[in-house]
């Protein structure tokens, strides 16, 4: 009896919030992330168009769901959630915002289909695993703090997934950020992008291994790998530089090698045709 009462109360409070909150003014398009996308996915799922995870990233599945919705509701099918599409969607569906957000925060597996009681759509993440996760996270945080106190915290958009450049995972990005940080952390930003670009140019070149790890861990290829500096905690700048390189920026203009003229001991490297100098590094073919 008491359980029922709580359930009813919960549903009440949810329906209240669902009316109070609706989309912001933006036109939502593929590739977007954030609260509006969470709402879009939840509402599309409520109507049964979207069967994927509600993760806050507008990927291909969300895109097709939105187009199917537009088609069924006789709207122009363009895959953009504009003013009329959003209005129709809000009128046709419900959105239990606090339910969705609290489950996203807790990392629970959940769905948001209409016609099924919400309590039946959640699979709570096991508390044991959760405790462990929080524990490791706090230690990580502490480690970060001691490693680089000057590091500025970048406010991330809170979602359960992220966009990644085609063909690369977050772990690849992390590994490359490690290498860039170890090799070029004192360099200007553009020099760091260039070092990341050299790694990518090597992957594309027939003269080098063709994986991220293969290129980075090739014995003797990078001094930071040889002396262990690759395992320093990278800062936000090197991650940003890696993303720029992965997205197609190449300040090195196709370079395969670079060296610091003040410390280079190998005579052979000087014989390579030089392209340009960025910061302390000379980039060459």
């Amino acid at each position: 009896m008491r359980k029922w009462f709580i359930c009813l109360f919960l549903i009440f409070s949810f329906s209240y919030t669902s009316q109070a909150h609706a989309f912001s003014k933006q036109v939502i398009q593929r590739g977007a992330v954030g609260d509006d996308v969470i709402e879009l996915q939840a509402r599309l799922q409520y109507l049964g168009f979207y069967r994927g995870k509600i993760d806050g990233v507008f990927g291909w599945r969300t895109y097709w769901a939105l187009r199917n919705f537009q088609y069924k509701f006789k709207l122009p099918v363009d895959g953009l959630a504009g003013e009329t599409t959003k209005q129709k969607l809000v009128r046709a569906s419900k959105y239990y915002k606090s339910f969705v957000h609290s489950n996203l925060r807790k990392g629970n597996t959940f769905t948001h289909y209409g016609g099924i009681p919400l309590s039946k759509q959640v699979k709570v993440r096991q508390t044991k695993a959760k405790n462990q996760a929080t524990a490791t996270r706090t230690t990580n945080k502490q480690a970060n703090k001691t490693a680089s106190p000057q590091q500025t915290a970048v406010k991330r958009v809170k979602t359960a997934a992220v966009n990644v450049p085609n063909g690369f995972s977050q772990n690849d990005i992390q590994l490359m950020a490690n290498a860039v940080h170890g090799e070029a952390r004192g360099e200007p930003y553009i020099g760091q992008v260039a070092v990341a670009a050299v790694i990518l140019n090597r992957i594309n070149s027939p003269s080098f291994p063709n994986t991220v790890a293969g290129v980075i861990f090739e014995p003797g290829a990078f001094t930071a790998v040889a002396d262990g500096q690759i395992w320093l905690t990278p800062n936000e700048t090197s991650r940003k530089a890696v993303l720029d390189a992965l997205n197609g920026w190449d300040p090195s203009s196709g370079a395969l090698y670079y060296f610091n003229p003040n410390t280079a001991t190998n005579g052979w490297i000087w014989s390579r045709p030089q392209i340009k100098q960025i910061g302390k590094h000379i980039f060459c073919k």
Binding site: Q26, N204, G220
Partner: protein, 448 residues
Amino acid sequence: MLRILLIAVLSIGIAGTAYWGYREHQQKNAILIHAENNYQRAFHDLTYQIDLLHDQIGTTLAMNSRQSLSPALAEVWRLASEAHATVGQLPLSLLPFNKTEEFLSNIGSFSYRAAIRDLDKQPLNSEEYKTLQQLYKKSADIQQELRNVQHLVLENNLRWMDVELALATNNRPNDNTIIDGFKTVEKNVQSYNETDFGPSFTNVEKRTKGFEHISGKKITKEEAKQIAKTFLGLEGNEEIQVVHSGEGASDAFYSVTIKNPKTKSETYMDITEKGGYPIWVIENRPVNKQNISLNDATIRGLRFLKQHKFNNFELYESTQYDHVAVLTFVTAQNGVRIYPESIKMKIALDDGNIIGFSARDYLSSKRERTIPKPAISIEQARKKMNPNVTIMEERKAIIMNNVNQEVLCYEFLGTLGDDTYRIFINAQNGIEEKVEKLQNPEPIYGEI
């Protein structure tokens, strides 16, 4: 009394230090041996793989029927790529050993192409046989040299850690037997460098990034500065530096660095010397909040392109990373998307300003082109597709296929299960040119 005590303490200290030092020394040795063993394994693996490779190429020469030739060539491809991967594990990157790696990678792509071909319809021609014969001979040379080095290594108990040390300290590396041996291998391959792999072969070099198709007169440093000013909409109080590229650049360019004393931001830009086209721009500044949407950013990007005379562009892909939009635009001509002509842009979602621009692909493939008439209809192309794929979108497009030729295709976006695929069917002969699985957002691991 005090003296005895002091002596006792000190001798305990010395004994302790000695013990500690001994342990450290042992640990260091263990790690050194481990690293050395890794190198030894890679080296002996390599010689073994080259052995197998040589034999396998030999057997393909003797074969004629497709049933036996295709698997044999596939085996060559596998061995070549394995050997290539093994070379990457040896500490040779400071040694010029590129040609050998390139050679292995070329054998790989040659045999791959031949292996996947329908050899009944299109058997190996005489030129390709000649290539195979040459590959056979060359791999014999490499095999012999490597066997020679291997013999010396085993006989004299040579260690790869010494090679690494010699290379790192540049301590007369010419005296090192291993380095010498590998240099001979490299020289051997170099003489082979010019070999023609036959008409069906394209080099594995994935992108040849020349700006051959751009025109215009050579610009000066001062003009480069002016171009940067107008392109970036500078106010005039910025500190600007211009540097000319080095001789290694395949196309000469100017690098412009702009420092804004007011906002403390730095902008970098490269401009081609010929014609003065902007190649890329990056502005480095933190973007910590979002005021405009990805859609607004797209509209701004398109407006910017139009303003700077990049015409006929449409959005191909948009992605948001935290508070930055990364957009890819491609040109479209009479409704046909030309994928090689792409421009990328980064737009900050706080104030909507452009903080990144890259036209490298566009500059290297931009040209006047006449789009051919398709020989098959879109209905015929649809029939060539996997029937399990649900077609969601379709259009015509020009793409680079995997032998680096531009081809007119029908492009289909379709779903199969939970995934989305982009499929290109050649509009002249109905060949499935490319099938890509499109990236889904990646879940964040280990976070609650």
